[in-house]
């Protein structure tokens, strides 16, 4: 079965709510999900992403402001973080791993076995990202203590994903 937008949104919400309620003891507020052809948003803060591989391939990401990342990490690690450091980056990477990992497990019911890459976290200002290929992203926003967290997933059958259209997507390195 090909995962449609609504199904994917439900999977992402279930996975995110499960991780935040179990590991952080907090309930996320849901925002309105939508589709977007753009990669995860440019700007300031933290972008953490992880690759999915199998008969379907893609990327899952978690992005938020630095302040939000500190709040999440403080709750996750039960310590006070007021600025982004190694602990905060590691905490956000692990949150991403758990959320997207649980999305992967739920997707496997429909798409068969999938693999998960090691998460990568970017922290900086005025950075942009691009995913090679013409993907549609399912964008699922949440709110945590007044801060916005955005979880995005893009998926495509493997054969389509390995044939990017030329002149459409160019990877731009992060600029701090």
């Amino acid at each position: 079965m090909i995962p449609d937008h609504d199904h994917l949104v439900k999977i992402v919400r279930d996975a995110a709510n499960g991780v935040f309620s179990t590991m952080l003891a907090v309930d996320l507020e849901q925002g309105d999900a939508y589709m977007d052809t753009a990669s995860p948003p440019a700007g300031d803060g933290i972008l953490s992403f992880i690759g999915l591989a199998g008969s379907w391939v893609g990327t899952g990401s978690v992005s938020c402001t630095a302040a939000c990342a500190c709040k999440i990490s403080s709750q996750f690690l039960m310590a006070e973080y007021t600025s982004v450091n190694e602990d905060v980056l590691d905490a956000i990477a692990e949150i991403t791993n758990m959320v997207i990992g649980n999305v992967k497990t739920l997707l496997e019911e429909d798409l068969g076995p999938m693999g998960l890459s090691i998460p990568t976290v970017i922290f900086g200002r005025n950075f942009a990202s691009r995913t090679v290929g013409t993907f549609e992203w399912t964008v699922v926003p949440f709110s945590f203590e007044g801060e916005r967290i955005v979880i995005q997933i893009c998926l495509a059958p493997q054969k389509e994903a390995i044939r990017p259209k030329p002149n459409v997507n160019v990877h731009e390195p992060a600029v701090n």
Binding site: G18, V19, T22, M23, S73, F76, L77, M78, E86, D87, D90, A91, A93, E94, N97, M98, G101, N102, K104, T105, E108, P113, L116, I118
Partner: protein, 122 residues
């Protein structure tokens, strides 16, 4: 009891230490490793380890390879190894159990789930 925690996430290693204390596990020294290679080196130099908690998806040597290597060493054949991982596919669970995992906990986890899994193992 000396415990070895194997996970590439320092955050999870910290959380598991806290959870073990909450679960009232009689902790001795807690060793940490970021992957299977580091974990094997730790075991070689610390024969007192009585419990291993290991992730599966890790760089260099993953948890399944680490589990296989540990079970191949006679001195570690009976040490409890609990896999704690995001990997939730039934195939991975079965593979880990067949290779000698003593238990399997999926992330996210609660302290009670870890405590319950350790009951009877230590």
């Amino acid at each position: 009891m000396d415990v070895l925690i194997v996970d590439d996430s320092a955050a999870i290693r910290k959380i598991l230490q806290r959870v073990l204390r909450q679960a009232e596990v009689p902790l001795g020294e807690v060793f940490e490793a970021g992957d299977g290679v580091e974990a094997l080196a730790t075991l070689k130099s610390h024969s007192t380890v009585g419990l291993i908690l290991s992730d599966i998806n890790m760089p260099n040597m993953d948890g399944i390879q680490f589990l296989t290597a540990v079970r191949a060493m006679s001195e570690w054949a009976s040490v409890p190894i609990v896999m704690i991982t995001t990997e939730g596919s039934q195939n991975k669970v079965m593979e880990a159990v067949q290779l000698g995992a003593s238990g399997y906990v999926r992330k996210p986890f609660t302290a009670d789930q870890i405590k319950e899994k350790l009951t009877g193992l230590i």
